[in-house]
Amino acid sequence: MILDSLLPPLVVLSSFLPGLVIFFLDESRVRLRTTLNLVGAVTKLLLIAYMLWGVFHQQDFVFRHTVLPGFDLVLNADALAMLFVTLSAVLWFFTTLYAIGYLEGAPHRSRFFGFFSLCVTATVGVAMAGNLFTFFIFYELLTLATYPLVVHRGTPEALRAGQRYLAYTLGGGAILLVGIIWLYTLAGSVDFVHGGSLAALGSAHAAELRWIFLLLIAGVGVKAALVPLHGWLPQAMVAPAPVSALLHAVAVVKAGAFGIVRVVYEVYGVTFAQVLGVLTPLSWVASATILWGSLRALAQDDLKRRLAYSTVSQVSYIVLGVTLFGPVGTVGGVVHLVHQGIMKITLFFCAGNYAETLGIHRVSQMDGVGRRMPWTTAAFTLAAFGMIGLPPLAGFVSKWYLGLGALEAGMDWVIGVLMLSSLLNAAYFLPIVYRAWFKPQAGEWPHEHILARGRRETGWLLLLPPVFTAAAALAVGLFAAMPFSPLDWVQLIAEREYAP
Amino acid sequence: MSLGLFYALVGGGLFALGLAGLILQPRLLGKILAFNILGSGAFLVLVGLAQRGGTPDPVPQAMVLTGIVVAVAATALALALTRRLADLSGAAVLPEDDARAPANPRGPDGD
């Protein structure tokens, strides 16, 4: 059906067009801008709901446009794509609400929301890309759309962070492009296919294919913040809180991790990647990233920096899961894509609330904040517990499947990495929780912008998003076994990937 | 050697001479003269080489007429620019530093 093939581009356009209009809106048109934002977000959600139903029933949504001979722009809403699309659309909706509250009265909002929408457009495109070309197009668009958000404040620090961000991501993009073209000249196709398409080339090109794998992983690894390519991420923390939330939970970092998933499963094919012997080195890199990120997080006093290093560590769980050969490991890695997103966005919303309401930027300033902001702190606590991996929260489900997957793949040492990392997680999250709830308030808050009014500890647009996402982090863990839960959906993906 | 070929050979020499002059002459007037020598060389080759067999060929003759008018036009424009430059900067030479975007003496007023 024609309409079905148009749905993927419509999902992309549902944030692109409002973004474009918003960009040119006058700064004072607050209501129109908000309406456009919300209409876009809701339209996207509705389209996605329809497509989810279709994909579940084996319906295909594929859009194809020839850019150059041999170079097609393909948007394909397969099960894996829908997982990421749904995640980003839902979290975008909440982040938009949050950003409207967060930026109330701030300058340059048209520019902000314009690029904000472009950013989600790019993410959705990355998710639905049907081949490496399309992936690359949206991957680079994502870089360009996020840069203005990172430097939004215009301070020298922000500009420096932006420069660093560009240097890393554009460099990564260039490497990725070389990898893609090299692969294309070798294989004649870079389409994403279940089970990969390179096995047919066989061992004759093994050496070249290993080099290409390195290029591709290095290219997407920059955004996924794999050590040693992670240097930009902690610096990018100067961005406004909603941007950090989006960067860490939905857009940039996730696009990188998602790229690794696509390359391993649908370009090389996990079986062929195993044969080439490229998975094990990748698992070392992932493990190193997990531990290094956690260790660095321990040392940070700045709350957002601590969360940033935590992201470096947590995203590599996804990469680690991918390298564990076998369906269980796949489930663990891919489902963490969703789980980490929900938990991390909660943490950043909360951090933003502390900063925006009380002027708290450092862990050492958080003593007794639980009594002043109970809802926010409760959400923070839930998400932190999830990150550590306490049952029955989302993070536990991920780690459980990762552990089982490691055993299945015969890589027992990974269990050790997981346990050590959980300990480190606890070591950098629990002190925060302890301070917030159990220590008395130490003097005045650094800078109280928003006064408590009755039971409302801060603006309701700031409060609702973290509460919802924290509840979601609990729900996806509690109801993991229910149909249409992320876990259930990921199991569907894994079945299709490993189907003979 | 026919007369036509002789013209052509002389033309080749003039062309090379003009080229050298265009590069080496420091003053603009010298460069403009050199360009005219270079052009004349090309015209001589055009007419001479075509008529090396002895039969006159009206086509290159017409082309050279066209070429001469073009050269006159170019020379006139070059002279006018030289005069204008001399009025503005006091010398009929190209400033050495221009390729490196000198600071605008009249302040940062753009174009």
Binding site: F23, T66, V67, L68, P69, H108, R111, F136, I137, L141, L144, Y147, P148, V151, G154, L159, L166, L170, G171, G173, A174, L177, V178, I181, Y184, T185 | A8, F15, L19, L22, K31, F35, L38, G41, A42, V45, L46, L49, R52, M63, T66, G67, V70, A73, A74, L77, A78, L81, R84, L85, L88, S89, L94, P95, D98, A99, A101, P108, G110, D111
Partner: protein, 483 residues
């Protein structure tokens, strides 16, 4: 009259000549309106021609009814039509831009319209001509019009730049004319169609080809023959800069391409092609680094042209003596680069002009506040920059894609390194400007607003540069007609 019977070829030359003359008759600073109408008609004619080409193949017109070799033939194949489309697509927005520009800054306005009319006529004539000597006349028409436009502000810097430009362009066409003389002497004809079957590897023809191509390198400002370009393109009035950088240098590149892969194909040597590629690579790096070092916005954009010209010449090593498929891809990539750069560079100059006008200075470190006051111009600048960086999904990316493919397919990975590295360098100098424009300003209201059409035309050009990437397949199809 049926639309099939309209012959666009002669009209594409006559129309701009007519409006140029008319605006001259109207007097100084007059004629913007008829120019815009004329360019609109021209755009329609080119589209009609493109349609004729896809349905009926290569189009011919024998001027005077004689036919080659006695008369002069106009021929429109895929390459010509893509170049004509590029000319129309750039000239029309730039005309609209110029109309508003000269209201704000009258310097150089007096004879802009007739001169630019002749310039457009020369471009169209050159792209259509199938006669070596006639091409020489169009080259001179083009060169003198461009020099006149460069000098038109009457300022010392501009006049010096124009003088330098004039000498370079005259030397270039002089070398070309010498080549024509040798070719006519050898074969007795200057018709490309006639020569196509005759040219063989004689010393005199090699010499002719060498002189003609060298002349074109000088006119295209390929490193190290680029010395004249930055002051001319950076010093002219902004609408002129846009025309020069976007279109004028493309004419000589087109001619180099036409000759090298056309009549002189039997002589094309791999070693010479590698030299051209090496000069191109040097241009990419030298131009980019110089752009990074400039203190003035328009000089930065001009040096960016030096760099971008380098990419054009990668076509030669990638399409000379390489397998047919890779060569075709490289050739398409080269032509697309010419078009993508035309759109992006016109947009970039237009946006830069608007920003300079708003900021009241062309120093890059004085651009602070432009981002807040002129977001559309800055956005256009950024978009154009993205095209030049070769990021997807723009026309610059389609170019880079095709050239990279050809480089890797033919095992010439060193050109791939140039393409990738050049893109990153472009990013460095483009973001340098964006960074400066994003910087907050202490003095409120230092940046003033500019006419809306200045910003919109820049934006339209940049958008066209982006869309070119999404519809590159159409251009490539058109390009294949008669190739």
């Amino acid at each position: 009259m049926a639309i099939e019977s309209v012959a666009p070829l002669p009209w594409l030359v006559l129309l701009p000549l007519a409006w140029a003359t008319l605006s001259f008759l109207l007097g100084p600073s007059r004629g913007a309106g008829i120019a815009i109408v004329g360019l609109l008609l021209q755009a329609g004619l080119v589209l009609l021609l493109a349609w004729q080409l896809t349905t009926m193949g290569t189009q011919h017109h024998a001027v005077g009814g004689w036919g080659a070799p006695l008369g002069i033939d106009l021929v429109a194949d895929g390459l010509s039509v893509v170049m004509l489309l590029m000319t129309a697509a750039v000239a029309l927005p730039v005309a609209i831009y110029a109309r508003a520009w000269f209201v704000a800054k009258p310097a150089g306005a007096a004879w802009f319209w007739p001169l630019s009319g002749f310039l457009v006529a020369a471009l169209n004539g050159l792209f259509l001509s199938a006669d070596l000597f006639n091409i020489y006349v169009t080259l001179e028409l083009l060169g003198l019009a461009a020099v006149g436009l460069t000098a038109a502000t009457g300022e010392r810097r501009a006049v010096a730049a124009a003088m330098r430009y004039l000498l370079a362009t005259l030397l270039g066409s002089g070398a070309y004319l010498m080549g024509v003389a040798l070719v006519y002497g050898t074969y007795g004809s200057v018709s490309l169609a006639v020569l196509g079957g005759l040219v063989e590897s004689l010393p005199v023809v090699m010499l002719a080809a060498g002189l003609m191509v060298a002349g074109m390198l000088l006119k295209t400002a390929l490193f190290p023959l680029h010395f004249w370009l930055p002051p001319a393109h950076g010093g002219a009035a902004t609408p002129v800069s846009a025309l020069l950088s976007a279109l004028v240098i493309k004419a000589s590149f087109y001619l180099a391409l036409r000759l090298w892969f056309g009549v002189f194909e039997p002589l094309a040597a791999v070693s010479a092609a590698q030299v051209l590629g090496a000069l191109g690579a040097a241009a990419v790096f030298w131009g980019s680094v110089q752009a990074l070092l400039q203190a003035r916005l328009k000089m930065l954009v001009a040096y960016s042209t030096v760099a971008q010209v380098g990419y054009l010449f990668l076509v030669f090593p990638l399409a000379t003596g390489t397998p047919a498929e890779a060569a075709a891809g490289a050739w398409q990539g080269g032509v697309l680069q010419a078009v993508a750069h035309a759109l992006a560079k016109a947009a970039m100059f237009a946006a830069a002009g608007a920003m300079i006008l708003g900021a009241g200075s062309d120093r890059i470190d004085r651009l602070g506040g432009v981002g807040a006051r002129l977001p559309l111009a800055l956005f256009a600048f950024g978009l154009a920059g993205i095209v030049l960086m070769g990021l997807p999904p723009t026309g610059g990316f389609a170019t880079k894609w095709l050239l990279l493919m050809a480089a890797l397919e033919t095992g010439q990975w060193w050109w791939a390194a140039v393409l990738v590295g050049g893109g990153l360098l472009a990013a460095a100098y483009v973001f340098r400007v964006l960074l400066a424009a994003f910087a907050p300003v202490p003095e409120q209201g230092r940046v003033t607003g500019v006419a809306r059409s200045l910003e919109w035309t820049a934006f339209a050009l940049a958008t066209a540069g982006v869309l070119l990437g999404l519809f590159a397949a159409h251009v490539v199809t058109l390009l294949d007609v008669g190739a």
